[in-house]
Every structure is written in structure tokens, then in C-alpha cells.
Symmetry: C2
Subunit: 694 residues, 2 copies
Amino acid sequence: MVFKVTVNSAWRATRTLWLLVLVSLSVCICVCRASSPQEDSAMENIVTEKKAEESHRQDSADLLIFILLLTLTILTIWLFKHRRFRFLHETGLAMIYGLLVGVVLRYGIHVPRDISNATLGCPVNASPATLLINVSGKFYEYTLKGEINANEVDNVQDNEMLRKVTFDPEVFFNILLPPIIFHAGYSLKRRHFFRNMGSILAYAFLGTVISCFVIGLLMYGCVMLMKQVGQLGGDFFFTDCLFFGAIVSATDPVTVLAIFNELQVDVDLYALLFGESVLNDAVALVLSSSIVAYQPQGDNSHTFEGTAMLKSFGIFLGVFSGSFALGVATGIVTALISFFTKLRDFQLLETALFFLMSWSTFLLAEACGFTGVVAVLFCGITQAHYTFNNLSPDSQDRTKQLFELLNFLAENFIFSYMGLTLFTFQNHVFNPMFIVGAFVAVFLGRAANIYPLSFLLNLGRRNKIRSNFQHMMMFAGLRGAMTFALSIRDTATYARQMMFSTTLLVVFFTVWICGGGTTQMLSCQRIRYKTSNSTFSVFAQMSITEGPERRSTKQESAWLFRIWYNFDHNYLKPILTHSGPPLTATLPPCCGPLARFLTSPQAYENECQLKDDDSDLILTDGDINLTYGDITVSTDASGAHTSGGAAFAGAATSDDLDRELTYGDHELVMRGTRLCVNATTSYFVDVQYITGVL
Amino acid sequence: MVFKVTVNSAWRATRTLWLLVLVSLSVCICVCRASSPQEDSAMENIVTEKKAEESHRQDSADLLIFILLLTLTILTIWLFKHRRFRFLHETGLAMIYGLLVGVVLRYGIHVPRDISNATLGCPVNASPATLLINVSGKFYEYTLKGEINANEVDNVQDNEMLRKVTFDPEVFFNILLPPIIFHAGYSLKRRHFFRNMGSILAYAFLGTVISCFVIGLLMYGCVMLMKQVGQLGGDFFFTDCLFFGAIVSATDPVTVLAIFNELQVDVDLYALLFGESVLNDAVALVLSSSIVAYQPQGDNSHTFEGTAMLKSFGIFLGVFSGSFALGVATGIVTALISFFTKLRDFQLLETALFFLMSWSTFLLAEACGFTGVVAVLFCGITQAHYTFNNLSPDSQDRTKQLFELLNFLAENFIFSYMGLTLFTFQNHVFNPMFIVGAFVAVFLGRAANIYPLSFLLNLGRRNKIRSNFQHMMMFAGLRGAMTFALSIRDTATYARQMMFSTTLLVVFFTVWICGGGTTQMLSCQRIRYKTSNSTFSVFAQMSITEGPERRSTKQESAWLFRIWYNFDHNYLKPILTHSGPPLTATLPPCCGPLARFLTSPQAYENECQLKDDDSDLILTDGDINLTYGDITVSTDASGAHTSGGAAFAGAATSDDLDRELTYGDHELVMRGTRLCVNATTSYFVDVQYITGVL
């Protein structure tokens, strides 16, 4: 009976879904068609108003197309999750729907050509930002939209429709990317990230630079070859090649990580991939803008010049560190505000403040000439590490859920727009040689990033990055939102147009093929994961035999981790949050009065209760669920409050700790709860031991 | 000791706050100053790019000002709530901060005049939407921003700074108003709204039209007088007067309702005010656009003409009913989707779908030429009434919190922009006679709405609207976001500019004076409320003596309520939600197969458990907290699931029910819980009794 009901409802759902697909598509097409005519009976003096209204209606209809696309994507994702299909992630799906609508817009709809868009013939010698036009006594104001390529001028009037569904590329950087990147930073609050920090920084900084230069050099070779063969239709300089290298070095393994999370794959691998991808977006972004800023003196503007290169390097350092500092600063200001005020009594105010402060980071960085997206990333990390602890449990949920939603919407929007743009973008340059060269270069660039760096890192790491992990990291180098946003930002020249078209193909290929093959790759590389049916690892045997080796993760990259951890734990946490130990205990006695002034009353309670409240580090496996899982969102908040202290007190020896970490989160919580019972007995000894070790 | 800590932290908080105020103001001013120069060393071929970058930085800085303003507002609100100041609501505060920043921008900052904004002298005979300018071989694209008044042309180049902090008025209608109005609709799920539906509709429709015409006629008299005296500097037609009447008829008692909620004032008064203000926004909006659409034939374009008026009336009906139908339709589609799919297992998808569907209502309405804001209002009401019941508890919280946050941000943004615009708007026309006339007209218009309608309604109502309630409704007629948005939408002519300036003053006056005096007015009118210290009413004595009179609320406006309720409860709820009785029980036996097909398995469970699940009607007093209170947000969700059925089963006789409703929510929950114990005994009799009564 129960089975019958389920089947029946699933069948009904499928039918409803496809009905909806049809209805939505026809609605969006009807709207597109309907909103064009109806301009005949207009009176002369309200023509302008009518036009503005018409344009507004057209804009609404265009946006509606995307909203309906996202709705369809959501419904189909649901169906896939319901049926446990794992071969296609929601982002891949969004791209497919985007492609379909792109085809319809391109070939299905013919809009009558609007002849009123006149080209002004009169000669002017400047292009001001605002223009006033005197039309028979009336003044109209025009704003500069941008430069148009000379050979496109005729196209401007054609395909008005297609141009209208094309967004200003800056929309990506100012509206869609910030929530995605902030969310990535905000969900990066994980012990494994900080423990693998050295490796992650190496992959993100060195690796991205290596990848950028390897791809750049290979592409330069390819371009030289194309010039020889006579396949190059325009200029393509070495800086363009480097720029291409930078933009395709930004990896975005959102698909892979979603599957990792669902399958509860090894947490170290997860941390390495997640940390690398989050940071290398920022590196690639700043790198690409420094390459654009490379401007040698004089007329020979595409030759090598030492000072210009140094200047580019300086810009890279300056912009990156400036954005970093700004992001961290606003994060700390937010933490201080929530520390000193009792905003936690008013959750709405608290959430609003958190949202506004995070947004202001972006705006402040942009206004100062830094990179808003990078600032937002580090702001997110700081907020997660400090401010999050000062928020009320309700606001913790609210902020997580809010940014989760924004991230979801923005990401799927970008991916469906990607699909759409393959057909609606008017200046595609598909060059087979360049495309083949790019695929090879992307593959080799990723390899030159992962394998040599892993080898070098393994020299220093006790917990080696095994070869199957390396292959998996190689495989998981998908390209996504950031690569797309960077490549669509400027499509004015021939070189940039060719890059954009090629980048689109790279993104499609990696998201569909690499993203879809993750489960197979995991099995093939014999990387442990849990299926959703059995709670325990399929390769449990293997993980237990690996015990002795894994036990030593504690000391791994310890020099960096330990210094940072001590400073953070003893000074920053007590000053910025309610969760650290009181400053009176950590500062030297001479600073007594200052310490007493800065310590919150709650910190003393913390001391009485538990000396080392590391709930943010211990419970971080639970966070994975919250970050990517759609099902169990409330785990973190309740978990953090019920079992945070106890789990730590119980699992306090270093070996215990490591063993905890090798298992998934479910087991951790279970163990934590079980250990609550006998936690009180071994409490003081354990805590002292830890304080000694760290 | 505890007291000392509190005082200390409050003092520290105050100090921090004012430090922050100073720092933020100086930061925002620095940014404004800093982001203007730095254009000297630009190379010639990247001047355009530089300019675009410059403009982007300026935009970021402008937006940053508003973000910082909102942050300051939040911090100060917190301080006020902390200290229990009730004389100034957050919206009033936002206006004050807006005023301050407006003064600074106007008088404190001098931006070097940008001489590159040239006026094109060459004659063209059209104003196309897109313009291509050929500047020495390069083509630049310009988009039409709007017409500029001839006497403003010289001003355009001055005060570039002030013009830049001026938003496109359409931003209000397309970005800021929709979440506010949707939130109003979404939180309107209250028994008292539906029970007072007749009166609310009368106030909202008849009342707004009366108010519009009374104000219009009075203003026309005032304008005629001004013309006699020679104080009128431009055209001002009767349609302008009516337009003014329409825009100042949109009341927005958000301040008053926040205080009502805090003080737990009489629920019927709350429902009347809330319902009226929500609906009359929609009426005023459509009314004003129909007045604008009044276009008599021929040249005599401002005389009376029957056909044109009929056309206007037709537009009003068409647009209103079209928007209504669209809003309800999308609401129902969302309810059906959430009914037929099992999206509730994936809260993120569910919330995203809810958000997207609600947004698409707006876009669809705009694309079809209806009014998006009105559609969104009715979509919100439908979502609250049907879809809300199908959502998982987690998504219920998420959606409520999301729209609560958006509403909060948008509202405070609008109010702070209002304050700012008093100084930054460049074409103010302050005419003392017009202003005095407007204040008198607004007062009389409100009176002509409330008192006669209340008298007529009281003829039909058994539960009379008492005179102190009438006075309170008169007093609570604040003007807010909608009035402002309507008046700033078009400020091209002299008449519209004068209206805008006057409207600003009306809004300031009503929000500060009427909003601030609510508590005093309540005491003065001897309207029952609870202070935050005592749980029971100060006027408890009074409410008990009023028992016999109030008991009859049940039958009040029953004819409308009963018809609607029966249809909704027996047919719509079962088809659209999981919460109604099974259709097999409510449809006639001949429709058996259809009923079985449409009934969800859950409905049968409902039948076994409780025949009449009116949790959405019974627990609505709890909703007030959720809607406006910042503290107890989770009451609704948990309450609805624990005490919904039991409370109803226990409090089932009509008299009991009425008595419940005269008390506040706290008491209701207590009583509900207490009654759980003996609920089972009297269960079947009670339910049958109710089904008979309704």
C-alpha cells in the first residue's frame, strides 16, 4: 500500500513536471512575443513614455525567462534527487535548460526589426559619460553604455531581441558572484581546512600561478602554430594567452563537492579541494586583472618589459593584500559590534546587520579600487570564524540559510545563463585548433599544478597526499562560474571572443563529463565513501588498516597551524567572540586591567564550564551537511549547543581526536553523545593535555 | 552584580555606537571624496574604460552610503529597543539619518565640475532608445535615460554628485516595494482579517476612492485660490489634484502596527488597520495609474469627458482584476506544485521555488501590462493561505524569515532615502499655501473615509466599531513607502514637483508625530493594551465587563465570511493543501472517483486525527508576534504543530472561541495547552457543533 502510494505520487509528479515544462516554455515564449507590438495607437507626445514602458515590459519578460528556467531546474533537480540520479548535477542541468531556451530564442522567435535606432552621423570628438540630445526643443539624456566594435555596428540593429537577453557582464561581478563567494567563505569554518592550510595555500597560490603560466605558454605555442597555418583572424598577443591561462585556472568543483558531501568522502580530500577552489578563484581574479594592467611604455605595447612586469606584480600584491585586509577588517568590525552590543536579543536586527556589513565589504572594496569579490571571500571566512560565535542560535541558522539560498539561486542563474549564451551571444569565434589546444593546455596546466606540488608537499607532510587523492584532485578541476564571469567581462577584441567561446566549451565539458563521472572516478580510485544505505564505509577495512599512518595528521603542517592556532585561540577569540577563554587567563599578568576590561562576562562562564571550547573545530564535520546538504540543515545549530563541549571533553587525547576525524560526522555525533556520560571524570586531565599539545 | 554588568555593557555599547557613527560617517565621506579624482594619468585609448571604472566606483560609494545609513539605523534601533524608547520608530529614525546625510552631501561636499559632459548641438529629429555615436572612427553606444526639462539643462552638469545619489524611481517599484508588499500579504494569514473582511474591503476600496476624491476636490479649490492670489507658477489641472489625492490616500501604518504588536492592542483594531492599509496601497496604486491614463480626445486635454472617464474606470477595473487574478493564479500554481511534488524533503529547493514563483508573479504581471505590486500582494495572501500549509516546518520558517528580512531592509532603505532626498532632490517646489492646503485636505480626506464608513458599517455589524477605535484609525493614517514611491515616480512637471515636495512633508509629519504619539493616543482613547511587564491587561476589568457584547463577534459580517469559508474549507483547501478534510467527505458522492484522485493520503490522516484543522485561523494571534516581533519567531511553527488541534478541540464552543479571541496570544497558548488534557472527552460533540455553526 505504501509502495503503491509512492509510485503513484512519483508518476503524478513526473507528469505534472513535464506539463509544467511545456506550460512554462510556452508562457515565456508567448510573453516574449506578446510584449513587442501594441505601439500603433500611440499619441505623439507620449511616445517616449510608451517606449520606456515597452522597454520595461521587455526587461520583465526577459528576467521572467530566467526565473522560469530556474524554476524548471529546481523541479527537475527534485525529481533527480527523488530518484537518486547522480550523473547530472543541478548546475549541469541548469546549463541544459539554458541551452534549450537559447535555441528557442535564437531560431524560434523573429522580432520585427526596430528601425528607430538611428546612428548619429554628426562628428563629435569626445565620448562623455552623459550626453544631452536636443530633439526639436526637448532635451533627452543618454548614458554611455560602452564601445562597439566597428564591424558590429550593423549587427547592433539586428537581433535586438538576442541582445536584450544579454546581461551586462558587470552584473556577474556585482550581483551574482558576491553571494556565491561569500557563501564559500562563510561555510569554510572547518578544522580540516585549517589543518591542511599549508597545502591549500600552496595549491591555491603557487598552483594557480603555475597553471596560469603553463597554459599561457602552451596557448602561445598553439597561437604561433595557428598563425603559421594561417588560421588566426586577428591579433593574439602573449598577454592574451596569459590572460586565458589565468581565467581558466579558476576551478569550481561545486558539482564534485556536492557528490563528495552526499557520499561522505574522505574529509581531508574534501578540505583540500574545497579550500583550493575557494582561494584560487580569488587568486585567478586578481591575477587576470594584473595581467590586463600590464602596460609597457611607448608604442611597442606587447613586448616584454621588466618594469611593467614588476608593476603588474606590485598590482597583484597590492590588490590582493588590500582586498584581504578590507575583508578581514569588516569581519572583525562586525564581530566587535555583535560582541559589544546585545543585538542577539533581536534576531531580525542581528541578521540584517550581518547582511549589511558583509555587503558593505564588497562596496567598500570596489569603491577603494580593490576587488570586491576577494574582500567578500575573506570577510566570509572571518565572519564564520569570529562573528558566527557571537550570533544567537536563531541568527546563525538565519544567516546560513540566507546565504545558502542566495548562493543556490545565483549559481544556477549563472549556469543557466551560460547555456543560453552559447546561442544568444553574437560574436562567437570557434576555432578548432584553438579549442583542441585549449583542452590540452587546461589538462596539462592542471597536471602541472597538482602532481609536482603534491610531490613537494608530501616531502613535508606526514599524512601524505596519496596518489589516488592526487588523481581525484586532477579530475575534479572543473571550471565554473568564476571562469565564465571573467571570460564574458570583456569580449571586445577578436582574441577575447575566441577565448570566451573556448571557455564556454571547457566549462560545459568539465561540468558534464568530469562532474557526471565523479562517482565512477571515486570507485575507480578506490577512495572510501559511504553509500546512502549503509552507515559504515564500504572500504571500512581499508581505513582501519590505514589507522597507524593517519594517526599522525595531528602534527601535519603543524608549524603553521600551531602558531596561528595559539595566537587566535589565546588572543583573537577572547577579544572578538564570547566563546574563547577569558583574556585574564591568556594575557601575561602585567596586562591585567586591560584583560579584565576586554573580557566579556560570558567568557568567565566559559572558563568554569569548559576551558577549551573548540566546538567550531570539532563539530565541523557536521557543518558539511549544513553547507551542501539540502536535507539536514538544523544539525549544526542544535549539535553545536548540545554536544559541542562534551564531545571535545570526551575525545580529548590526540589519538582519539584523529580517529574521530577519520570517520564521518554521524559517527562523531554518536560518539560525542555517548561520551557525554563519562566525560566529567576524565575532564581536567584531558583539557590540560590538549593545552599542552597545541 | 548583574545590574552592574548590564549598566556597564550598555554604557560600553553606547560609546561604541557613537564611535561607529563617527567612523562610518567619516568613511562614507572619505570614500565619496576619494573616488572622484585619480583620472589624470590616463592614457588616451583607455579613457572610456577608466571612465566606466570611475563611474562604477562612484556607484559603489553611493550605495555604500545607504548601507552605512542602514547599519547606523539598526544599531540605534537596537539601543532604543534596549532602553525601551517607544517614541521613535525605526522608520522615523531612518529618515532622520537620511536627513543628516542629505545635509552633508548637499552642503559639505564639493566635487570639481566635470567639464566633459558635452551637450550635442547637432540637430536630430528623433529620440531613439539606443544611440550610436561615431567618435573619430570608434562607435560608442548610448542608452536613453529620459527627458530633461528645458530649464534644467544647465543644472544637469552642476551637482553631478547629488544627481548620482538619486536613484531611478523605478527602482522602488521593481526592487524595493515588491518584497514589502509581498511580506504584508504573506503575514496576513489571520482569522481576524477574514472575519472583518467586509469592513476591511469597504475601507480599502470605498474609503480610498472617497479619500482620493475629497482630497482632490479640496486641493482643486486650494489651487484655484492660489491662481487667484498669483502664487501658482505653472499648470495644475484637476487630474493633477485627483492624482495627488490618490497618492496620499495610500496609508502605511507600519509604525503604529509595530507598537500595537508590542503592546498587544485589541486584535480587531489591529486587523482592521492592517487589512485596510495593505489593500489600500494596491487600490491607490491602480487608482493613480488610471487617473494618469485619463486622456480626453483632441486638444482640450484637461476638460471633463464622459468616455475618457469611463475608459479610466475600465482601466482601473481591468488592471486591478487582472493583477488580482495573476497573483492568485501563481499562488495556486505554487500550492499545486508543493502539493503534488515531495519538495518538502529538500528545504533549500522548496524555499528557492517559493521565492522564484513569488518573484515571477511580479515579472509576469509587469510583462503583461498589469501592476506587479498588486499581483504580488494577492500572491502573498494566497501563498499564506494555501502554499504555507504544504511547506515543511523548516521552509515555513525560512520563507517567513527571508521576507521579513527583505521587508525590513527595503522599508528602512526607502525611509532613509526619503530623508536624504529632502536635501538632494534638485527641483523642490515648496509652496506654503499648497502645503497647508494639503495637510488640511489629508486630514479631512481621512476623516471622510473613516467616520461615515464606520457609521454605515456599524449599521450592519453586531460588533460595532466603537468611537475610540474610529479615532485611533483616523490617527493611524500615516503615509509611507507607497505614497513616496508614487510621488517620486514622475517629477517632470511643475505640478508633480510641488506634489512631491508636499508629499515628503506629509510623510515626515505623519511618521514622526502620529507614529511617535501612538502610545499616548492609545492611553488617551482608553484602548486596552498590555504593558510588557504585566501579562494581563491593565484594563482587564473593562474587557470582562464587555464580555456579553463581544461574544457576538462570531455572527459579525457572517454572510460573507460564512460563504467564503465554506467554499474554501470544503473544496479549495483539500485540493490545494495537505491540511483540509478529504474531498471524499466534502464532495457529493457522485464525484467519488475524482475526489479520491485529488485527495492526498495525508488528508485521510487529518480526518482520523481531527476533522477541522483550523490551525491557521486559530493560531493567528501567535502570528502577530511572528510578523512584527523581533524576539519570538519560532512560536508559530512549533505552536502550530503542538497546540493547533488540541486548542481548537478544547475551545470549540462558539462562546469559548470568542472569549479566546478577546485575549492576547500568550493566554491563548496557555489555555490551549491546559485544555489538551480534557480535550479528548468533549471532542466529537464539539467538532460537530462547529461544523454546524460555520
